[in-house]
Structure formats: C-alpha cells, structure tokens
Subunit: 295 residues, 2 copies
Amino acid sequence: MKFQELNRHYKALFELFMLDAIPDHSQTQLEEAMRYSLSAGGKRLRPLILFAVLKAFGKPVEPAFIYGTALEMIHTYSLIHDDLPAMDDDDLRRGKPTNHIQYSEATAILAGDALLTKAFELMTLGEAADEIKLKLIRELALNSGNEGMVGGQQADMNGEHTTLTVEDLESIHARKTGKLIHFAFFAGGLLSEAKEETVKDLEEMAYALGLAYQIRDDILDVQGDETELGKRTGADAKNGKSTYPALLGLNEAKSLFKERLTRALELNQQIYSRETDYDDELLASFIHSLEISSK
Amino acid sequence: MKFQELNRHYKALFELFMLDAIPDHSQTQLEEAMRYSLSAGGKRLRPLILFAVLKAFGKPVEPAFIYGTALEMIHTYSLIHDDLPAMDDDDLRRGKPTNHIQYSEATAILAGDALLTKAFELMTLGEAADEIKLKLIRELALNSGNEGMVGGQQADMNGEHTTLTVEDLESIHARKTGKLIHFAFFAGGLLSEAKEETVKDLEEMAYALGLAYQIRDDILDVQGDETELGKRTGADAKNGKSTYPALLGLNEAKSLFKERLTRALELNQQIYSRETDYDDELLASFIHSLEISSK
C-alpha cells in the first residue's frame, strides 16, 4: 500500500472520529473553541505517520485513532497558543480566523490548556496494554514539554532576529517540530510491537525526516520566490529568520535535504530486512512524497 | 497524628523535592520560569491532603512526593495562566511579581504549558502499580481539563458581572477549585489501596470540603470588612462577584459552611468504622483547622 492510498482511506474516517472526541461539558464556549481549532483541517501529518507505521506492520489502524487524536490535540493546542498576540500574533490560520480572534484571548488560552489536558486523558484509553500506554504517555510528555516542543518554541522565540548557527537551528527544529514527529514514529513502533532495534530505526527515521521537513520548508520559501512570482513566499528572509538556505546556501541545503531522505530510505530497508511481513512500500512512498520537484 | 504535625514534618522536605523536579534542558529561561512559580510558596494544600490521606492509612508519604509535585504543577500552571493580562491581569502573587511580569507574557504561557505537560510525565513515574498510575492520570486529566478546573475557569469568566444562582456558583467552584481537591483525596485513597466504599467516602469528603473552602473564603472577605477595618477585604463585593453571603445572607452562608464541615467529619468517622488501622485524627484535625473563629 502507498501512503497516498492510506491517506485517502483513513483521513476522512479519522476526521469524523476526532469530531466526536470533545463532548460538551462546561456549558460555555470552551468545548466549541476546542473543536473549532481541532477540526480546522490540516494534513494530519502526525497521526497519519502513526497509522502508516501500524499499517506497514500489518496492524489494524482504527484502534489507534484515539492516540492519533491525542497527538493532533497536542499539535493543535500548540498552534492556538503560538498564534496568541503575545507570541506570533497571527489572525488567520488556513484562511480561518485564529482561535483568539474567533472567540477571545482568554478562551483561546483555556481551549489550548484543555486540549493539552484532554490529550493525556485519551492516552489512558483504548486497547493498548497498560505498560505500553504508560510508556507512550511519558514519551508524549517528554516530546511535547520543556524538553521537547515547548522548549523548542521558547528557543525559537529567543532566537528571533539573531543569527543562529546551523547547530542552533537544528536543535530548535529538532524540538519544535521534530519531537512530535518522533513521537508518531515511536508510538507506531511500540503499538506494532516491533523489535527494539526496529523502534530505534523508526526513531532515527523520524529525526531524519523531521529535519528534512524543515529544510524543505525553508527551500520552498526561497524557491517559491524565484519560480512563482506573486505568491507570498520569501517570508523568512523578510522576517530575518535564520534558515538553512540562508546559512548554507541553496545548493548545500538541497544536498543536506537529499541526504536526509536517503538516510530515511536506508532505515526503511533495514527494517524490511529484519521484520517479516513489513510492507516497506508504505513508508518509502511517504518519504518519496517529500521530494522537491526539480523545476 | 495531627494535620499540623504532618505539615511541619513533610512540607519543607516536599519543597526540596519539588525544587529538583525541573532540571534545565532548553537552555532558555523556560525552566527558570517554571521553577520561579512552582517555588513561589503557598500552603501546598492539595499535596498535603494527599499526604494526609496516605498517612492516615499508615502508608509511607515520601513515595507520593512525585504525585504531589504533579498536582502542585497543575495548580501552579493554572495560576500562571489565570494571572495573564487576557485573564485576571494580576501583577503580584504572594507579594512577588507574577510570571509574565518577571519574564514575559510569551514565556509565562509556555511555562504554564510546560508545567502542565511535566505533571503528566511525573504521574507515569514512581512506585505505584501501572493500573493505578493510569487511573490517576485519567482522573487528573478529567479533574483539571474542560470537564474540571479549566471548564470552571471558563464558566467563572463568563459569569463575571452577572448575578448567578447558588447552583451556578456551586457548579463553578466545584470545578474551578473543587476538582483538584477531589483528585488529592481520590489519589490518596487509591494509593493507599483503600476499599472502594472508602474511596467513595473520601471523594464525598473532598466535595464537602471544597465547597466549605469556597464559602469560608467568601465569609472571610465580608467579615474582614466588618471586623478589621482598613484591611483590603470586601474585594468580591467591589468587583461585583457573586458570593455565598451575597446570595444567601451571612448567617445562612455560615450555617451551610458548618453543615459541610459536619458532613466531612461524619464521613471521616464512617471510614474509621470500616477500615482497621485508620488514624481518624489526621483528617479530623484538618477539617477542624478550617473552622472560622467566632469573633
């Protein structure tokens, strides 16, 4: 199975599942505000990675919807809080008013807090064994808290309008976006009961792809400016943000990007050679889907 | 043992334990900001209730420090976020600058998020059995999220400057402050391996005392105004906040308060008659410590 097929098959089902995850309780706008941002669309990249790993190991995907929802709740709360006036001060996200514009700043703070909290409730539910659930909860907290995503967000904020080294940049992105992607791969491996070395390979794949993802974003921001005049790209340069092309040059950034994808494909083959009944096509097609067209 | 003794014996030790709970990881001010608010003092009421229940059942207290820390982290994050300009806009807490004044609004939002996340990491650690940990994590999430504390905070915000019924008021406080107190009693019962009916009694005690606590606050705010002229009390009336004395009259509020304490003492006796080796003096002395002097 290819990643695109998995996406077609499960994404709409998963969206329906997520819609039901937040029943009304507080008789205020709180739950409405939580659902507003959770159902605002997006690629659902993290849950889909989790589902892809499960599928590649021949495991059923739907029992993991609840953990995918938790993961998407963590991602969503971080977007709500990042958009606040005290942070990035964004009014629009995916063409819709951000949470604090649609409701209020106070409600947006609370909706974020409640989504973050609800994620951990969901992690205690579902069919996984108690020991696995606890490992996943610990890993989710470590990946999304001060040692992970939140720490990366703080470092990113501190680093704005200063020139960073490539190492600084890598360390910020590894935490800010890489850690939740890491959790998606790790959780997929654990829930599939994959061998310990295989989980390690999946974790390394996560770091390679998390980095590749960021370099890709940076490259597209520059290239868009060159190839699609009139489109609002080049935002990073305007905002004085440190990027890979700015620090390394466009060609060097492109070869670092390719190197990371190649490493991820290698790891995928390594897993294939170790685990019987592993469908290597699924993650390979996901990795290839990240390639930048060479126009 | 009396509650005051338990407090003297464990509070300082617990403060030291909490100081070590947040090592530096992000090389930013994030962890400093987390520790700043966590170590800003306070009665540590919720952890001490948890410890009191354990001690009353003859269980060791120190293995539960990690769960008490998680509970205090949840309480602390809620104070940091409540103090933000978009919420209560408070500059001072316990005589010290609030988190967003000491650091920045963005850092205060992130420090709150990180404390909330860290609390769930800590709940996966320690000596409790996996099954107990998972029950506690689920209960902590339910008690502190949209169905609990955060929902109560939203309802409280919506209810400002409108006249509430006694039922509304009770429902808001039951969530905003009552639910975390509930968790302290519930966790104490579960970690002590108390009988199911006993855990139920502890939960009812928690609701009685949570309500008593709130009525007490409201009464002291009025009484302070009558008895200690010049002291900054009467803030509730000035802010147009619905309170028990305002809705019920001072005498009725006082008798509701006494009724709740009496109910809590009854439940304590009920547990004593069911469980061997239960030290009823501990929670009785805690309940009596809440009494309002009749000057």
